[in-house]
């Protein structure tokens, strides 16, 4: 396979994942902000920007932080390279360039997702925003389905590899949002707003019900973190994603006949996550743990880029 084709597929995987994550983040923030009986207000939108690491870009626009402005910025803004629209644009352009490496279903779901956003100038009110995001989630689920129906060969591996790396990054950032969220004065840790925030994180990870299944004894920060970081039963947890990364790299190794630094790094990450216990994470500081994870994940992505000669 051409190195460029592999790189485009990898980035299609990343962009689609990023688009979906960003949309889910907006959805959860809308809920946290407006559906909750105790509006968390601007803080929620500021943290959403922080999670998407768009705070600086947003500040540069000079706009005030309010729900409409931030939702538009995260969903549609052309001057935000991580906006859902821009992610889908890039995914679609890459897909067009490697059109024949994708199946028809895969191409069509990306194309439809793009066409659904292309001409939107504003997300509209709460209901319109939620509707838009629902439609988008349906398309990205369709894309995920299409990927899993592809032939299990290099094209599929690179798409999934990109999706995994991006998912690991996004999930770690999402959990880390608690570090950025400042509780309003007078609110206590473990209080209502604190619980709302954790519950929003679960919602963004589409893991609310999963949590109830795994933990019958109620919401607590360390349980939420344990599930999202360490529980392999949850397909989008960091540990499950590390497993998947190792599996895909193995499959690529079999197809191409060689392995390299990326394989070693992924296996190391997997081994370490298997041994990690939640109390160690919490004792050492969640923020520090997540920051280290994000950095390691980035180094892994760079190793993949080198190993498969993307540049």
């Amino acid at each position: 396979m051409l190195a460029r084709t592999a790189s485009y597929l990898y980035w299609i995987g990343r962009y689609v994942e990023r688009a979906e994550f960003t949309a889910r983040l907006v959805e959860a923030t809308v809920r946290l902000d407006s559906l909750s009986a105790r509006p968390a207000g601007e803080g929620a939108w500021e943290s959403a920007l922080a999670v998407a690491s768009s705070a600086d870009d947003y500040a540069a626009t000079g706009e005030t932080v309010n729900p409409t402005n931030v939702a538009n910025f995260m969903m549609l803004a052309e001057n935000n390279s991580n906006s859902v629209r821009n992610c889908l644009y890039s995914a679609r352009m890459n897909s067009r360039a490697v059109r024949t490496a994708l199946t028809r279903e895969g191409w069509e779901s990306i194309n439809r997702a793009w066409l659904g956003l292309r001409d939107r100038s504003a997300v509209g009110g709460t209901q319109a925003t939620i509707n838009l995001i629902e439609a988008l989630k349906a398309e990205t689920r369709g894309f995920e389905g299409a990927i899993h129906r592809m032939l299990r060969q290099e094209s599929q591996f690179f798409l999934r590899l990109g999706a995994c790396i991006e998912r690991a990054d996004n999930m770690a950032r999402l959990i880390d949002v608690k570090y950025h969220l400042i509780l309003p004065e007078g609110e206590e840790v473990g209080g209502l707003i604190d619980r709302d925030q954790w519950s929003t994180i679960l919602q963004t990870a589409s893991a609310n019900t999963a949590f109830r299944w795994l933990y019958r004894d109620g919401l607590s920060p360390s349980r939420v973190v344990e599930m999202l970081v360490l529980r392999r039963e949850l397909p989008r947890s960091l540990a499950a994603t590390a497993d998947e990364l190792v599996g895909i790299l193995d499959a690529l190794g079999k197809a191409t006949g060689f392995q390299g630094e990326a394989d070693r790094m992924a296996r190391l990450l997997q081994q370490r996550m298997r041994k990690t216990r939640i109390r160690e994470i919490m004792a050492g500081g969640l923020h520090e743990y997540l920051q280290a994870f994000i950095k390691e994940n980035r180094l892994l992505s760079q190793a993949i880029t080198r190993q498969f000669r993307f540049d």
């Binding site: 051409l2 190195a3 460029r4 059109r99 024949t100 069509e108 290099e154 498969f308």
Partner: protein, 484 residues
């Protein structure tokens, strides 16, 4: 004065009596309801759009992806018509290749005075750089698209030769797919020659022209300018169906006069490049230095005989419309036989008498740039305004060498869905001819382009043209009605 046009189904009968052999097609057209035809046509176009069979129109927003309109009523060639067409095409392309080898080699045809030396050597289409470099196996124009028009029951004329990088073959293949799906009953009425062997023929041709240094299983690739190019869909479609990698310039590197492609497993040697990039952009080291589309060192590798370029650089001289006017002589010179396919009568404006005639008859003639293509830069006298004619008059006087003139042809029509009914619309035809060391081969079919606007004679997609499927009937396909 209403001109009489030959209709390929109705002849000159104005819809009263079909030509022999076309009775059942005429019946199909009459008996299938118009809304049903329109529904099928819309379905075909929707499928094209979903598949992304689009082209970009130059001069529009680069993201403007359009589909070429598709007409559901096919154009049909009888076996006998095709027989003589394909013989003529193969003769013509054989001569074209010999001509190219000659003008970049011994130049016998110039020495013998058949074609004026200055017309060839001073031609912008002549590439001095490749002079004296014989390409692998001496072949230049591996893939030719010959544009043809029909003017009566038995008159097919060549309008122009495309020996550089003719496009449109994916439409031949996709249109057939659509017809098979949407009008299966037509294939019961007719036994139609399949066109899908084209991609196999293309692969075999590519493998046959690999340099001698290549292995038995040469590595062939298709080089595209990238996904912003108007013909990108075709590039990816062909690469996928031929089973070769679709590469961009950045995927190739030349090292020690050998071309490599970058894969996830490292470098892989490339033997044959079907390039869909113009000569000028092929290699920034020897052609345009500002070209981002090209591969530095590619021409050196080509000169070293390490890679075959399809088509070989320099072929543009054969596309030149002034050279075209000598094709009957060129065919005769190299094949020893009269050209089986006639040219359209052509006035070379570089010749004073021809210029005088052209200037006097601008309102009746079609005037073309000798190096123009795509329907750009041409004047169709009878349908032009006085200002347009005046503009061309000035351009002609300023640079007579740059133009040729031809009579306005009575292009044949084929019934076409138009508005509420079915009307005759003018068509042309581009068959594709492959030349390898395994011989010269024409797949039975081609691209029929149709001018969708009433009365229009310009069929280019960039100028509002559409396409039709082109059926070539198998032998012994006569129907009972025809034998009566």
């Amino acid at each position: 004065m209403a001109q009489k046009y030959f209709d390929e189904i109705w002849g000159y009968s104005r819809g009263r009596r079909p030509r022999p052999g076309f009775e059942s097609l005429a019946r199909w057209i009459k008996e299938t309801s118009k809304p049903e035809l329109r529904r099928r046509q819309a379905q075909a176009e929707a499928a094209f759009r979903q598949l992304g069979i689009t082209f970009n129109v130059y001069g529009e927003d680069e993201e403007a992806e359009r589909i070429i309109p598709f007409d559901i009523i096919p154009r049909v060639f009888t076996h006998e018509e095709w027989q003589s067409l394909s013989e003529g095409l193969e003769q013509r392309v054989t001569a074209l290749n010999l001509f190219l080898e000659d003008v970049y080699g011994a130049r016998k045809i110039l020495k013998d005075g058949i074609v004026p030396s200055d017309l060839v050597l001073g031609n912008p289409g002549f590439t001095p750089l490749v002079n004296g470099h014989r390409p692998p196996h001496g072949l230049y124009a591996h893939i030719c698209g010959i544009d043809m028009v029909r003017t009566s029951a038995d008159e097919f004329l060549v309008l122009e030769d495309n020996a550089r990088t003719p496009s449109g073959v994916s439409y031949m293949l996709e249109n057939r797919e659509a017809m098979l799906r949407l009008c299966p009953e037509l294939f019961e009425i007719f036994e139609v020659e399949p066109v899908d062997s084209y991609t196999d023929a293309l692969r075999e041709m590519m493998q046959s022209v690999a340099p001698d240094s290549a292995s038995n299983n040469p590595c062939c690739v298709l080089l595209t300018p990238g996904h912003f190019n108007s013909a990108f869909y075709e590039h990816s479609f062909l690469a996928d169906n031929v089973g070769i990698e679709l590469v961009e310039a950045a995927d190739l590197i030349v090292d020690d006069d050998i071309v490599w492609m970058r894969t996830i497993e490292g470098r892989k040697r490339v033997d044959v490049i079907y390039r869909r990039i113009d000569d000028d952009f092929l290699d920034p080291l020897v052609f345009r230095p500002d070209s981002m589309l090209g591969v530095p060192g590619l021409i050196a590798a080509y000169f070293a005989g390490n890679v075959t370029l399809i088509n070989a650089p320099g072929g543009g001289i054969a596309d030149d419309k002034a050279i075209y006017s000598y094709m009957p002589e060129i065919v005769k010179y190299y094949t020893g036989a009269e050209a089986k396919l006639p040219n359209v009568e052509t006035w070379r404006c570089r010749e004073p008498d021809a210029l005088k005639y052209t200037l006097e008859h601008l309102a009746e003639l079609v005037v073309k740039k000798v190096d123009g293509s795509g329907g750009y830069g041409m004047l169709v006298g009878p349908t032009s305004t006085e200002e347009e004619i005046a503009e061309f008059r000035a351009a002609l006087k300023a640079n007579p060498h740059g133009y040729i003139a031809q009579p306005t042809l009575a292009l044949s029509t084929v019934p076409t869905l138009a508005g509420k009914g079915i009307k005759g619309r003018h068509v042309d035809f581009r068959p594709f001819v492959l030349s390898g060391t395994n011989g010269v081969h024409t797949v039975p079919g081609g691209l029929t382009r149709v001018a969708l606007r009433e009365g229009s004679l310009v069929v280019n997609s960039s100028q509002g043209g559409g396409t039709k499927d082109s059926f070539v009937l198998r032998p012994d396909n006569e129907q009972p009605e025809a034998k009566a």
